[in-house]
Amino acid sequence: MRAFLTMVGKDLRQRSRDGTLIVFALVLPLGLAFLLNMLLGGDPEEDFSARYGVVDADGGELASMFVEDVLEPLEGEGILELRTFASEEEARESVEAGEIDAAFLVPDGFTDDLHNGDSVELRVLGDVDSPDEVQVADGVAEAFAAEYHRVELAVTTAEPSEEERAELALRAAEAPAAVRVVEDTDADWRQLDSPTYYAAGTAVFFLLFAAMPGVVSLFEERRTGTLVRLSASPVSTLGILAAKLASTVLVGLVSMVILITVSTFSFGAEWGDPLGVTVLTVAMVLAAVGIMSAVAGFATNAEQASSWATVVAMLLGLLGGALFPLANLGGLADLSYLTPHQWFLRGLSDLSTGDGLGSVLLPVGVLLAMALAGASVALYRMGRMLHP
């Protein structure tokens, strides 16, 4: 353990003197996030105005309630512009043409089904280019769904017997909301607001570069001749490699913490629930180090390792939507799920709409799996460097 800490400490000391690392880990991501946010980002809450459509295929009392009591008052306040469509096809065309941001689809039988106690779907058709507006539309529908559920329960439980009361309470606790909101949008993930998106994107983009000095340092040790001393020392191969990975992870964590802190205070990034962000960030750093060290493991010298790692970091970053939104990727968008960046950003946006840690379990799981796979490959390949 002492030898392990000694090696980690030595690596960190070397890293702290590496000017290039500081540029890549801190200066570039902050500078770029700031610049992108200034040039491309706008404050979404300022002059928010959405264009929504509604298709009332039901015509019943509850459908009218949604349109008249929920949507129209919002239109009255100037928050949204409302258009009525006769059919889903018309609404969809309008969304695709960019004429409206989102459409609410109230299905046939909405009122009757609800009265009969069946659950129904209230669908939101969203435009991928208007993520903020789609998110607001979702919120509106969710609010109606939640409200209706409470109302319905109150109605059905008017003056029941003791037995019925108990049974109803049980059923109410188990029952899902009667109105289920289904978002039907071609956007892969609900986007973050722009300061957060640019801060998070550039942070993870450069995180892979910040891991580079660490993952090529074994080649560096070979160049300085110190690798044979490590191999000859009474420290296990696994211990030596684990120390290398650990110091690289620490560098990544430190850079992320600094970036998160600075972006929060200097240009208003809102990363979200601290626990969720912490878990997500740790998983992302582990994945970044795992992937980068696996890449380096296949190289034969420091130069090759650096150039391969650079290419991989660039490709993954661009493909993962870290520097510009995925919508611009077109058909490549699905491939973005191969990148840790995409999972991290998705995790952050899930966190911004979901309920804490539970909402990021999938992204965290995927990131940890990437970390594990990468580290296994790296340990295998680099073990052979220590004892050829």
Binding site: R2, K10, Q14, T224, V228, R229, S231, A232, P234
Partner: protein, 311 residues
């Protein structure tokens, strides 16, 4: 008491048999030299003994216990000075020493004490805080050796430690190695300089093309050559033709050249010198000097392999 036992270790790189069934042993307090030219297999042998390289076959024991890549207990008893400098140039001499001391489980006040001692020994105490990148070649070499002493090894292994060091530093290095041996440390020393082996080593193994060709004390090795003497000629120009002619003299057993120096292994120098001088005179080259030497390790090497140690 035997401390290191190497038994029939072999290592190949592809079809190149770098080390072939090398066996030797070193006792506590004994200094053993591996003498051989570049590419003989010295460093490969050492890599296997220090636990960096796995032998293809054969076994190594240290203090009677099996030893190899994964045996940390035996590895902890070895002090290793690699042939190439093995230091962090971006750290100070002090930080380098402290790092390697801790790697061997020496820490705190004890580590600081040993680093201080080693710095005195290698005469770098006043430069301890400077980065190694600012060191001269000789200073870095000395520090490289110092690192190998930090763990108070019972087996000290040095791979050509005095290459590229000025004469004064070399003396200091050899002296400090002799002190280690006097304290009971088993020393393994490789070199392609006969003088170092002669001065330092109790026993010498002569290695060439991956095999140990002969082994013993200097006296034993030299006696293998029998009554042969060495004649060293210094020529200027036309060396090749002279060598061809010299090889035809029946009393000349081996001829090797190193630059303008020609070494002859002859049965009886007294009677052969006139013949040699005559031949040289006939071969249109200018003779600068002639020297007759008692057989030495260089002679032994020439006798065994038909070539010079350095070429």
């Amino acid at each position: 008491m035997t401390f290191l036992e190497v038994e029939k270790v072999s290592k190949s790189y592809g079809s190149n048999k770098a080390v072939e069934e090398v066996s030797f042993s070193i006792a506590e307090g004994e200094t053993y030299g591996l003498l051989g030219p570049n590419g003989a297999g010295k460093s490969t042998t050492i890599s296997m003994i220090v636990g960096v390289l796995r032998p293809d076959s054969g076994s190594i024991r240290i203090g009677g216990r099996p030893h190899g890549v994964g045996n940390n207990a035996t590895k902890a008893q070895i002090g290793f000075v690699p042939q190439e400098l093995a230091l962090y140039p971006d750290l100070s001499a002090w930080d380098n020493l402290m790092f390697f001391a801790r790697l061997y489980g020496v820490s705190g006040a004890e580590a600081r004490r040993r680093c201080g001692e080693v710095l005195e020994l290698i005469d770098l105490a006043d430069r301890a805080r400077e980065n190694v990148s600012a060191f001269s070649g000789g200073m870095a070499r000395r520090l490289n050796i110092g690192v190998g002493l930090l763990n108070r090894p019972r087996l000290l292994i040095l791979d050509e430690p005095a290459v590229g060091v000025d004469a004064q530093s070399r003396n200091a290095i050899l002296e400090s190695i002799q002190r280690q041996a006097a304290e009971g440390v088993a020393v393994l020393y490789t070199t392609h300089y006969m003088e170092e082996a002669e001065r330092l080593c109790d026993r010498v193994g002569i290695i060439d093309l991956g095999r140990i060709r002969a082994e013993g004390t200097q006296r034993e090795l030299v006696s293998q050559v029998g009554e042969d003497d060495t004649i060293v000629l210094s020529l200027s120009g036309g060396t090749e033709r002279a060598v061809l002619a010299l090889k035809k003299i029946p009393q000349v057993r081996e001829v090797s050249t190193e630059g303008s120096e020609v070494r002859l292994l002859v049965r009886d120098a007294r009677s052969t010198v006139p013949l040699v001088l005559e031949t040289v005179a006939d071969s249109e080259t200018v003779l600068r000097s002639v020297e007759v030497r008692e057989p030495d390790l260089e002679t032994v090497f020439l006798h065994l392999t038909g070539k010079a140690l350095r070429n």
